[in-house]
Symmetry: C2
Subunit: 614 residues, 2 copies
């Protein structure tokens, strides 16, 4: 059999197996798989370098299905290369199967979860960046993209960044099957509309017939020769190719075929081709030199912004662990990632004002075992929430640092104030949410983040706040700290970050009036210190929480959830930002939001008074 | 004075006033204002048509500062045109001033809040769409953009959509001052990199020197002549233009000038030019015919997906209110927005898979008084969270419908499951969050959304569920419904949406065992029915909440917050999705998540047993 014949046969096999997998639970996306089958057949048979027995090999290429709904095709590839058997293939979408509706890294050959469109390619950019700048291994990253997802701006962020970074190790393959979920895409088969934009972004673009295996072969060969920029192969294809009942037909998206038996017959029946995928040349990733960890230390009473301590601590971590890398969204002089950038320029990635690509690149870097810390204003991570959500599905380990949280930033106003980040980050599967109030605590928490699995988030404050902890104190994730207490406390104030300082000030005012307030620093918002908070509740009864955040989903509700099933539930009052803030001085805005020392003291007085009346 | 001289003088005045405003609180972005001063001088003096005495006039042009940090320039314009006086100008960024750090609609001439980059242009697309397709008035939309924000993919979504929709009433002016916050942008002064991409997106692009007022004049004149596509003017400018200490210098972003007096002198001193902005020709917006509202009605016991009821109800609303419009992100056959599209094609907007542009367009349409309903999978609104957050800062009124919530979608797997949307949407300033369990309730809530101010969110379910309410029942926002109760209830189960049905099934099981469970339908998650929940808590003591969502920030925590300050706080147990789901049948996944009838009954039994032991 000639290569051409073999590829065509392999393409048909991938189609047949895609039809068969979708038939099992009568769900999935066979037609979106069939359009790309020829593109993938040539790729795996001739170009992909991957050791399926050693998916952890640093030398392996990476194949990322940005159009994750084409999972039947991906799993059919895994069968063709011998990674899974036919029996497992037919567990597709069944409860407990590794072959989920959209790919996830539950499978060892899947780098990242896809299925939210427009994410696979930006993540592939991150993997390719790792190959070029960190690993320094000539693996390639192949990203199969859909034409529908080209409408996502994140795809164009990816093309621009790939070009800017000179990622000639990245090949994007766009399967232009013309049809989206509910009808034709914006550009249909106008391949020019895609090549023109890809070229305008600085990519090398090749338009082909995606069912002409020789043209596909030539395109890949051409891509391998391109230097200094990524290649985008734009392939005209037919959705549902090969089965007349669905080929190029609307209404056939995301559905199993009505008559799979007939379709299999029309496609020439079941085949049993095996593909012996070429293995890569062995290679070891580059290692950066490391020293012993020496976290920064600050003196008690010193005024230091926690965002500054983040920069200092991250830089120290970078010296101690060559795997630590940093990315920032063009605000490194605000987030203080610039300190890391100056100390470790080879491991710093400027992602400009493209927060989606920022998080996607972080996810891509961690695919290769690097430990990314991504920073921006906390408010602007809301731009990348879908990417953060999906990073959790990817079982990715990334650290995120959001600066300029809350109304306490002052004059810049609400567009720059994160008031929803605690809610947003708590509601990420398996996440960790930390909110330090001083520089020494920040340093310890940043160090903890480097060891933490999953998505961890650090919320930092713009303004300088006094150092209240010694540099040698420990702040375990999941802990809290009683900052002020006596045996006769009347009320507990739970705060974190900027409000911890307001709480301490309120406690002093209250003390002068004869009211004894316990102050708990709840720096670990998730996981939260159930035992510590329960002890405070038991000791003082009423609890007052105070946060520079909307009332929903933040510190207050986290505390409520921690105490919800106690036998004796304390009364809990939540102080939070109630109305839309404007501009002003930090103190004016904290007061207007009702979360400054005065409001805290006032609320505490009322709680104590109410308790006395009972 | 010739036009040219006048424009140059006016540009200097805008610079001087920008420097003066930033000097007040020593904060703000004068240098980013100075680069665009000449561009704006020519615009307001010759091209803008706006009645500053009647900002609500439908005939007015719209001037949107996508680079919202150039607010000193915008406010200096407002002074030049006589909308504000010099005294007010100098309240910039002071507490209580309308002149916030970044523009918000607290000012009557500001359509939308900006300051999160990459949003003003996509919103401008929405306003221009309203002009073309709804109002049918020849107003123009002028969007001043920064070069840094061109890195946001949302900008390219905007260019693509503007071109696709033939928006020749939109002019984007890109102020290429080369410098971002912390250094040079990706493309510096490579104007070609912008024009090339704009043209590739189908826009008309013009590159000019942004300080040559004659070139600026010619560019605007050319833009007015372009038909069938938007114009993008790419202007090479100097950041901090006119003041040597900061001109084209790094490190001068977002700071007041060190010596404002010297700068004002260097700029030629304070000027008092007044601009008499041309008023538009009067015009009335197009009105769509309307009928009496006839909401769909469903029979008790009928199996109907709430997403289907959304489509039905929205279509009825569209018939009854000509201001109701719908947008969808290429999934209208899943969200059932397709029913509206078929009935009211003139008022339906296909936004393809570009959720940022989807929400931005909705915000733009409501600027002109239209009532947008935007739909997609609930999970994918996480893609637009920054736009939703900012829509609240814009005091926008938009309705969002997120379908396919939670693990109950089944085989598609976690990438398509919204498990964080309640947390995300609750933590939006002033938002409303609704989660119906049956079709009749859905219809009533959709009707309520059309009358609700601010950001309202409807969470719908993929699968069909039985109708349990009569079509004539009322479901006020902020209410709840006791679905099952007796005088001797041992426990209250609070549920909503899909879990309400599981709760009813559990209550039946418990009844067979002699345990009486009250079931409360908490369809209004925000605002929540504090009185109703308190009454249930008082009646039964223990409360069990159950939701198809992560445990954080959702129904359970909303209930806890509602009950936190009661004198007698019930024990509350939250059942929610605890681990990362996979694929499977809805029933399998509800069981695996621990939120099906069996798990509810089990948790209720334990609560009742524990209460009995006390």
């Amino acid at each position: 059999m000639s290569d051409t014949e073999r590829w065509s046969e392999l393409g048909q096999q991938l189609r047949v197996d895609s039809v068969r997998t979708a038939a099992v639970t009568k769900s999935g996306h066979p037609t979106s798989s069939m359009s790309a089958a020829d593109l993938m057949a040539v790729l795996i048979d001739k170009y992909l370098r991957y050791d399926f027995d050693d998916p952890e090999s640093p030398a392996n290429d990476h194949l990322i299905f940005s159009k994750g709904h084409a999972s039947p095709l991906l799993y059919s590839i895994y069968k063709a290369v011998g990674a899974i058997d036919d029996e497992e293939l037919l567990t597709f979408r069944k409860f407990g199967s590794r072959l989920e509706g959209h790919p996830t890294p539950v499978l060892p050959w899947v780098d990242v979860a896809t299925g939210s469109l427009g994410q696979g390619l930006p993540i592939a950019v991150g993997v390719a960046l790792a190959g070029k700048r960190l690993d320094r291994i000539p693996y390639r990253v192949w990203a199969l993209c859909g034409d529908s997802e080209m409408a996502e701006g994140s795809m164009w962020e990816a093309f621009e960044h790939a070009s800017y970074a000179g990622l000639d190790n990245l090949v994007a393959i766009v399967d232009v099957n013309r049809l989206g979920q509910r009808g034709e895409t914006m550009h249909g088969w106008d391949l020019d509309s895609y090549t023109r934009r890809a070229e305008a972004c600085g990519c090398h673009a090749i338009a082909i017939d995606g069912h002409d295996v020789e043209a596909i072969d030539r395109a890949y060969a051409e891509a391998l020769e391109v230097e200094g920029r990524p290649t985008v192969i734009v392939a005209r294809t037919l959705k549902g190719k090969g089965v007349k009942a669905v080929e190029d037909k609307e209404g056939a998206h995301g559905k199993a075929l009505d008559d799979p038996e007939a379709a299999i017959e029309e496609l020439g029946g079941i085949r049993k081709l095996k593909v012996d995928v070429a293995k890569p040349e062995p290679a070891e990733p580059h290692a950066f030199p490391t020293e012993t960890l020496e976290l920064p230390a600050y003196d008690l009473g010193e005024e230091v912004a926690t965002r500054k301590a983040y920069g200092d601590a991250l830089t120290a971590l970078g010296s101690a662990d060559g795997h630590v890398v940093a990315l920032d969204g063009e605000v490194s002089n605000s987030t203080y990632a610039e300190i890391f950038a100056a100390a470790h320029p080879e491991r710093f990635f400027e992602m400009y004002i493209a927060e989606q690509q920022l998080v996607a690149a972080a996810v891509g870097l961690q695919v290769r075992g690097w430990k990314p810390f991504a920073s921006s204003f906390a408010a602007f991570f809301s731009r990348a929430y879908d990417f953060i959500r999906m990073a959790a599905v990817s079982r990715a380990t990334i650290a995120i640092s959001g600066s300029h949280a809350g109304v306490s930033i002052g004059e810049d106003g609400p567009s720059q104030m994160a008031l929803e980040d605690l809610a947003m980050m708590r509601a990420v599967g398996g996440s960790t949410v930390l909110y330090p109030c001083d520089a020494n605590q920040t340093a310890k928490l940043v160090a903890a983040m480097a060891k933490r699995e999953g998505i961890s988030y650090l919320r930092t404050t713009r303004g300088a706040t006094p150092v209240i902890y010694e540099a040698d104190e420990d702040f375990p994730v999941g802990g809290s700290r009683v900052v002020r207490a006596s045996d006769e406390d009347d009320v507990t104030i739970v705060a974190a970050g900027i409000t911890l300082h307001e709480a301490l000030s309120a406690a002093q005012t209250l003390a002068d009036e004869g009211i004894s307030a316990r102050v708990v620093d709840c720096y670990s918002v998730k996981p939260i210190d159930v035992a510590g908070l329960s002890a405070a509740a038991e000791a003082t009864g009423a609890i007052l929480t105070v946060e520079d955040h909307w009332p929903e989903g933040g510190l207050g509700e986290a505390v409520l959830a921690a105490l919800a099933s106690l036998d004796e539930r304390p009364k809990v009052e939540i102080l939070a930002v109630a109305g839309m803030p404007g501009s002003g001085k930090p103190a004016e805005l904290l007061a207007a939001a009702g979360i400054d020392a005065e409001h805290i003291a006032d609320a505490a007085r009322k709680l104590v008074r109410a308790a006395a009346l009972r």
